[in-house]
């Protein structure tokens, strides 16, 4: 359980850091505050997107809440499960956006126009890479939640 708590804390803090970075980039690219956006961190693209920043912050809050309440408790297990669901959903959404971008570029080329799509920029993003953490934790958090609840088991035959 301690390892689980530490994993939640680590994931939460990493998400919070990237939420702050994307928020910084959004402020830097939107308002003339004289800030210089951090477009790349090593090979990772950091978008300046307020919506993404809120999403990353939400996942961060959920994992930090899980670490705070302890994943062994109802609140802790629920926070971890919802954190995993949201983290994986954000990852899946970006993969869908990338797939749509590729398809869009292909269709535009088919229509006889020039089009390009930077696949690496779409994939090497914090929402994609950080999403692997919640993805790995999902089976555990699901089992943990299931052990705490009773599944609906109605049978028509008994009526």
């Amino acid at each position: 359980m301690k390892a689980c708590k530490l994993s939640s804390l680590a994931i939460g803090l990493t998400y919070a850091s990237f939420a702050a970075l994307t928020l910084f980039n959004w402020l830097a690219t939107t308002l003339p505050l004289g800030l210089k956006a951090i477009a790349k961190l090593a090979w990772l693209t950091i978008p300046g997107d307020l919506g993404l920043s809120v999403s990353l912050l939400t996942v961060a809050l959920l994992f930090l809440s899980s670490a705070y309440f302890d994943p062994g408790t109802v609140k802790g297990a629920a926070s971890m499960l919802v954190g995993c669901i949201v983290g994986v959903a954000v990852l899946a959404m970006q993969l869908l956006v990338v797939a749509a971008g590729v398809a869009d570029a292909a269709l535009t080329c088919l229509a006889g126009e020039a089009a390009e799509y930077a696949l690496s920029e779409g994939l090497l993003r914090p929402d994609v890479l950080l999403g692997l953490g919640p993805l790995a934790l999902t089976p555990y958090s699901w089992r943990r939640a299931k052990s705490l609840v009773e599944a609906p088991q109605g049978s028509i035959a008994t009526y």
Binding site: T58, S65, A78, M93, A100, A103, G154
Partner: protein
């Protein structure tokens, strides 16, 4: 045709049962006189063709809310052969109130005990045989989401069709009230014209409750006046004797009966265990975590709707702006006809149809989240915010509906009991960004904020909600003063969405957009084309659409130039100003009008707009489109709900607000050094 009606509280799985019975063979219309959705489908049971009607989700059969009035008017006037009352087994007591109300009407009832799996996970099961015995009607168990028990329900309906309904006296209102009911009942029974109107016992009960709708209908007959007058006397006498409001007293007796029956039929099989819904709700409805979670959900909905649907929009644009347009332009048709079809119809309709994918994807995501049970939670979480703006939590549902279309949003405000809350909700509902405004955001955000389209569009939606809430506060503190009422809402258990349910809901909602594209938007596109190729000097020819100088001498050019001065501080050119005029007919037409006036397709429109707008002026334009005059249908809905005075107020305040807001965006941007 044999008629079967489905009744039940909201969120009991009525739609899922409807879809199972009809296999999706359904169509959607409106109930007469109102824009409340009416779903009708066809089913076949034992070789019999049935018309299945999905009644609105209701808690009782009073005349206070439009939904309850619709349901009971349908039962009274259409006299369905069987009514299936869908009861949530995990919330038996509350659901039985409606069952008892339906039984009092003397209808042929079948009780469908749905969600028995949820009930069992909560530690109890319902003794369906005992329930059937106590109610005197067949009771069948189902789990609609897992398609369990549907055959049993079909059999029960088939059996019920062989018998007739009869009024059952399950609720005992006490000797004095029962005596009054009997007196009125026998008087009604002795008058054939009144007897055929309603079930006599039910009518007697409703008259004693002071139901104005029943009184009005009774007064339509000479003998009815006598009955209504006697009911008034009896009510006054009973209220004096009992020392209470008679209607509340009778409602309480019904609740007592529902509670007694529920207690008798519930069998505790194990202590109530923690359910999955309980567990997840500790986070999802949490006062701190719930808000960012709701924002993230909405952000993902917008990403899904606008970024993931993009290839389909490209495909439609290619078909309309490329293949079809070129085919017509290259045909041997006369020049005038070619221009009307290619520049008017294909460009106008095509530039709107490219928004079909984002709109369909948006509805798909919302329908799936509704089925999962999340949308009710989002409303619950946001309710805390609503209260701070002196708006009832009941206003949340109309405002959420406004995201689709403002007209049903305004109609959905009817059940709000507090008149001040209702009026404020109706007046601010048009500020909520409906799907018709989406095309403008998509084009402008795509042209100037590539990579952040989802965030910019979400920003416009948030701005709409913020303005609506602030205005509500202003209205509630000035025009409609008074305290705010509370909000009670049932949160359905989380469920895996049914694919067919989600697909049907998405199609029904998207169909309306398609219908509009084929009617209002088509006419709008033709009008824009006509005003662009004609002018004071007569017919200018299709070349006006390609020659900016010639276009400026068209009616559209003259109109646009007249408006240009008004919008000069915002930096919009005459074509952008003229396009706004068409938004009054339907907001979707704005983009179509722009495409025609700039002489380009939707893809080309983004490039054309880049030469006429800057990121700042485009943001101001989006703000103006978000807030300026509601479309004609919305104005008509406001007039219908509050009268001409308030409809005129809505037009005036929205125009002024939009202008000030757009100007503020420009001013603020310039102050911050943004261009």
């Amino acid at each position: 045709m044999v008629k079967v009606a489905l009744a039940g509280n909201p969120n009991v799985g009525k739609s899922a049962i409807f879809n199972e019975l009809t296999h999706g063979r359904a169509w959607v219309g409106n109930w007469p006189g109102v824009t409340v959705e009416k779903k009708v489908g066809r089913a076949k049971i034992n070789g019999l063709d049935l018309e299945v009607v999905d009644l609105p989700g209701i808690y009782g059969l009073t005349a206070y809310t439009v939904d309850e009035l619709i349901a009971r008017n349908y039962i009274v006037e259409e006299k369905p052969d069987v009514v299936v009352d869908i009861v949530n087994a995990s919330n038996l007591e509350r659901n039985l109130y409606l069952t008892l109300s339906l039984l009092e009407m003397g209808i042929n009832l079948v009780v469908d005990l749905n969600m028995i799996d949820i009930a069992e996970s909560q530690g109890y099961r319902v003794d369906s045989s005992k329930l059937s015995r106590l109610l005197g009607v067949p009771v069948v168990a189902t789990v609609a989401t897992k398609r369990l028990g549907i055959d049993g329900l079909r059999k029960a309906i088939a059996e019920a069709l062989k018998r007739r309904g009869e009024a059952r006296r399950i609720v005992d209102y006490g000797p004095k009230v029962e005596e009054a009911v009997a007196r009125l009942q026998s008087l009604i029974e002795s008058r054939p014209e009144l007897r055929s109107l309603y079930n006599p016992r039910w009518a007697a009960i409703k008259l004693l409750e002071g139901d104005q709708n029943v009184e009005e209908r009774m007064r339509g007959y000479a003998s009815g006046v006598e009955v209504v007058s006697l009911a008034g006397e009896l009510r006054a006498m009973l209220e004096e004797e009992l020392g209470v409001d008679l209607e509340s007293w009778m409602v309480e007796r019904r609740y007592e009966a529902a509670s007694r029956i529920a207690q008798a039929c519930l069998v505790q099989v194990k202590p109530r265990a923690l359910t999955f819904t309980d567990l997840v709700d500790t986070v999802v409805t949490h006062k701190v975590l719930g808000i960012p979670l709701a924002l993230t959900t909405f952000y993902m909905i917008f990403q899904f709707a606008f970024s993931v649907s993009a290839p389909l929009s490209t495909l439609i644009d290619w078909l309309f702006g490329g293949l079809l347009y070129d085919a017509v332009k290259g045909s041997a048709l006369p020049e005038l006809v070619k221009s009307l079809i290619a520049d008017g119809l294909i460009t106008g309709i095509g530039s709107i149809l490219v928004f079909l994918p984002p709109i369909a994807f948006l509805f798909l995501a919302v329908s799936a989240l509704e089925d999962v049970g999340y949308m009710a939670r989002a409303a619950f979480v946001v309710d805390r915010v609503m209260y701070r703006f002196k708006l009832s939590g009941r206003s949340m549902i109309p405002l959420i509906l406004g995201l689709g279309c403002n007209v049903p949003a305004i109609m959905a405000a009817r059940p709000i009991e507090d008149e001040n809350d209702r009026k404020a909700t109706v007046l601010v509902a048009p500020c909520i960004s409906c799907s018709a405004r989406l095309p403008v955001y998509v084009v402008l955000a795509g042209a100037f904020f590539a990579g952040y389209v989802g965030s910019v569009i979400l920003g416009m939606y948030v701005l709409g909600v913020a303005v609506a809430l602030l205005l509500a506060l202003v209205f509630r503190k000035t025009l409609f003063r008074g305290p705010s009422t509370g909000f009670i809402m049932e949160l359905p258990p989380y469920m895996v969405p049914s694919t067919s349910n989600v697909a049907i809901k998405t199609w029904e909602r998207t169909k309306r957009f398609l219908y509009k594209a084929g009617t209002v938007i088509l006419l709008g596109a033709m009008a824009v084309w006509l005003l662009s190729v004609t002018g004071p000097s007569g017919y200018l020819g299709p070349s006006a659409l390609e020659d900016p100088m010639l276009l400026e001498s068209s009616w559209m050019g003259i109109l646009g130039h007249a408006l240009e001065a008004v919008f000069k501080p915002m930096g919009w050119d005459w074509r952008a100003a003229a396009a706004l005029l068409f938004g009054f007919v339907a907001k979707e037409v704005v983009v179509g009008a722009m495409a025609i006036m700039y002489g380009v397709s939707e893809e080309g429109l983004s490039a054309a707009l880049r030469s006429s707008f800057t990121p700042l002026t485009s943001l101001a334009y989006m703000t103006f489109v978000l807030l300026y005059v509601p479309c004609l249908a919305t104005v008509a809905a406001i007039k219908g709900e509050l009268g001409w005075r308030y409809a005129a107020l809505a037009i005036a305040y929205e125009l002024a607000l939009a202008y000030v807001a757009a100007l503020s965006v420009i001013g603020l941007g310039l102050l911050l050094g943004v261009s």
